[in-house]
């Protein structure tokens, strides 16, 4: 059984159709890259998968780990093992990072029928992860993403992923705007998540990330549809030739 199966997905915002028939299957153990020009619907796809209000799915089905995803609330999707890494992580000044991390982990544990994590084990694990992301402990006690630089926000997204160990990670442009050191740290984090039982979707504009995290499949999203899929060589072609030729081929 596929981890994620999207069939003929159509979705609109404010009556405007953005996703226009997406088919995509992701098996555990696979890394998929989704590329495509600005405005093609990549973030929209991520938001629909995350269950954000305001998007109306007009046709199609999504199955996630055996569940009918469209019947689930955002938080149910999260505790069932989906993690959405935001293109623009939200700043929440009044809520401490450490608090969110703990609540998120406990929400997942509760869904799995486990007790709350004990504080000592939790702090130890979080400190190790913080160090591995080349972040400072002080981040834990600041408001969620509040006043973080772009790169710090993206590291924070990966930190959350590493703690929550999702079955499916959907990372929307986690590599955009990172300097090379940060890109390495972020890529290492993603590679650590990679494994037999997990699926990863990388939404990206750049081959650079894919040099560090080699995808099994690359898809090109254009005007709300996947117009071409291939292996990692497709990303190299896109980088070398741009979208024009591939768009023409597809049409």
């Amino acid at each position: 059984m596929a981890l994620l199966e999207i069939k003929n997905l159509h979705a609109e915002i404010d009556g405007k159709e953005i996703l226009r028939g997406i088919n995509l299957t992701i098996n555990a153990g696979e890394v998929h890259a989704i590329m495509g020009p600005n405005g093609s619907g990549k973030s929209t796809l991520c938001h629909v998968l995350g269950g954000r209000d305001g998007y109306e799915v007009t046709q199609g089905t999504i199955t996630f780990d055996g569940h009918d995803l469209l019947e689930m609330e955002t938080e149910e999707r999260a505790v069932a093992g989906m993690l959405l890494g935001f293109q623009h992580p939200v700043e929440i000044p009044g809520v401490k990072n450490i608090y969110l991390l703990k609540e998120s982990l406990n929400a997942k544990r509760e869904a799995q029928g486990l007790d709350e994590v004990d504080t000592f084990t939790f702090m130890k694990q979080v400190r190790e992860l913080v160090a591995s992301m080349d972040m400072d402990d002080a981040f834990l006690h600041r408001g969620v993403n509040a006043g973080f630089s772009g790169g710090e926000k993206k590291r924070n997204e990966i930190l959350q992923m590493l703690l929550l160990e999702p079955k499916l990670a959907l990372l929307d442009e986690t590599d955009s705007g990172l300097d090379i050191d940060a890109l390495k740290v972020v890529s290492e984090g993603i590679n650590r998540m990679r494994g037999e039982e997990r699926g990863i979707i990388l939404v990206t504009h750049y081959q650079r990330l894919l040099n560090y995290v080699e995808p099994d499949f690359v898809h090109v999203l254009y005007q709300g549809k996947i117009i071409k899929s291939g292996d990692k060589s497709l990303a190299h072609r896109l980088e070398a030739e741009g979208y024009q030729e591939i768009l023409e081929e597809a049409s």
Partner: protein, 431 residues
């Protein structure tokens, strides 16, 4: 149009008052002409005094019973000044050196003169001052707090306004606070309703802070379904004086609180922080007016309102910078959160600047909970209720954090969370 003074108020006018005779007599006459402020008065556009007008309140008879507040604040050895329905219960024993506490009724003529001559003086043209005038005409009870020069009073001085102990009672207490040069003190108003009865308290605090002295003034309006209050604070600051005000309003049917602050000496600094959380049909209203009358003075104002149900929050902040007051920094922000379709918030900053070398900023925001932040928290597995609660509590926390007393701050953090918790339960009941 202002409203004529209702008959029950006219007849309640006392023969003798705490104010010096000449002041009291003038005030009685003026009170009749001024009446009560009405909706057409610019300062009363959003809040009306109908509940008072119709209230048929009478002067307290003095229950004298051993009424205690039901809420315990975590304060270190406080000096309690208890008013039950506006009747002063007397000064505590063992007052620290450098502090003098006395009942207003026992004070000498000069002191009473000072208590009824606030700076800035309320002007007769301002309809707003109908309430101060009424207080002057009717005040019989009050307290005088004097801090000697160089005295540092560590123990918090707590005025306990325990309202609503008896049926439909009104009170007009007056408080005088004087800080001598280089002294410091903390004044806390613990405001609580101790009964189910409707009540109206029209209190006035007149304070003066001498050179290099510092007053911390925290007002905690904690509960009270039927409490009506019109509260006025006058503050005047001399050079290098500091005034830190924290105004928390969590309860009451209609609470109108006003601050008039006169920054009269260079180097003086004012902080005005506030949190109002109207719910049900509560109307919580704060008006502040800061006058920078001296050069090189600063003020920092930060108010937040969270309105739920059919609650109404009102904030109006006026900053006036006089012509000769150069090199002023005045910062004001008012951030407001609306949680329900029937809630309403009005926020209005007002800057009047006559000097040219000033650095001023103000901003007011009114909004709903940030949908994107909610989605973010939920995408991490948090339930909708919890995510909402966190965002609301976080919004309040940013002003709670500015309370200088650590234990009180932690206590208030919990109190606010508890209130938000009640909100969730209420929602569950509705569902």
């Amino acid at each position: 149009m202002r409203k004529e003074l209702p008959d029950w108020l006219k007849t309640a006018m006392p023969e003798t008052a705490a104010a010096p005779e000449a002041i009291a007599r003038t005030a009685r006459e003026q009170a009749e002409t001024l009446g009560l402020p009405g909706l057409r008065d610019e300062e009363w556009r959003w809040t009306n005094l109908r509940a008072i007008q119709r209230g048929q309140f009478s002067a307290p008879i003095g229950v004298g019973a051993d009424i205690e507040p039901s809420i315990r604040l975590p304060l270190d050895n406080p000096l309690r000044l208890r008013f039950i329905d506006g009747v002063f219960e007397g000064v505590p024993n063992e007052i620290p050196e450098g502090l003098t506490l006395s009942a207003l009724a026992d004070a000498d003529e000069d002191t009473r003169q000072a208590a009824f001559s606030p700076t800035p003086a309320p002007s007769v043209e301002n309809p707003n001052d109908a309430l101060v005038t009424l207080n002057t005409a009717m005040a019989r009870e009050g307290v005088v707090i004097d801090v000697a020069a160089n005295a540092v009073i560590e123990r918090p001085i707590v005025i306990e306004w325990l309202d609503g102990a008896t049926e439909s009672v009104m009170s007009h207490p007056r408080v005088l606070v004087r800080l001598g040069q280089s002294s410091s003190a903390t004044l806390i108003e613990h405001i609580e309703t101790v009964g189910e009865q409707p009540s109206w308290r029209n209190s006035v605090i007149v304070s003066s802070i001498a050179a290099n002295a510092a007053l911390t003034h925290i007002a905690l309006g904690l509960d009270g379904a039927r409490r009506l209050a019109t509260e006025r604070t006058f503050v005047s600051l001399e050079r290098d004086a500091r005034y830190h005000s924290h105004n928390v309003q969590l309860g009451g049917q209609m609470i109108r609180r006003e601050y008039d602050i006169h920054v009269g000496g260079s180097g003086a600094h004012v902080d005005l922080i506030g949190l109002m959380m109207p719910r049900g049909k509560q109307v919580l209203d704060t008006h502040t007016r800061i006058t920078h009358a001296a050069a090189d003075t600063t003020s920092n104002e930060h108010y937040r309102t969270i309105a739920d149900d059919a609650g109404r929050g009102i904030f109006k902040g006026r900053i006036l910078i006089e012509e000769d007051a150069q090199r002023i920094q005045a910062y004001q922000s008012s951030n407001n959160l609306i949680l329900s379709d029937n809630a309403e918030i009005d926020a209005k900053p007002e800057l009047e600047i006559y000097a040219d070398d000033v650095s001023c900023s103000h901003g007011a925001t009114i909004g709903r909970l940030d949908e994107e932040a909610l989605f973010y928290l939920r995408s991490r597995g948090l339930q909708l209720d919890e995510a909402r609660g966190l965002l609301i509590a976080g919004f309040a926390q940013e002003v709670v954090d500015e309370i200088p007393l650590v234990e009180l701050r932690d206590w208030l953090t919990e109190r606010v969370e508890q209130r938000l918790g009640e909100r969730d339960t209420a929602d569950d009941e509705k569902a």
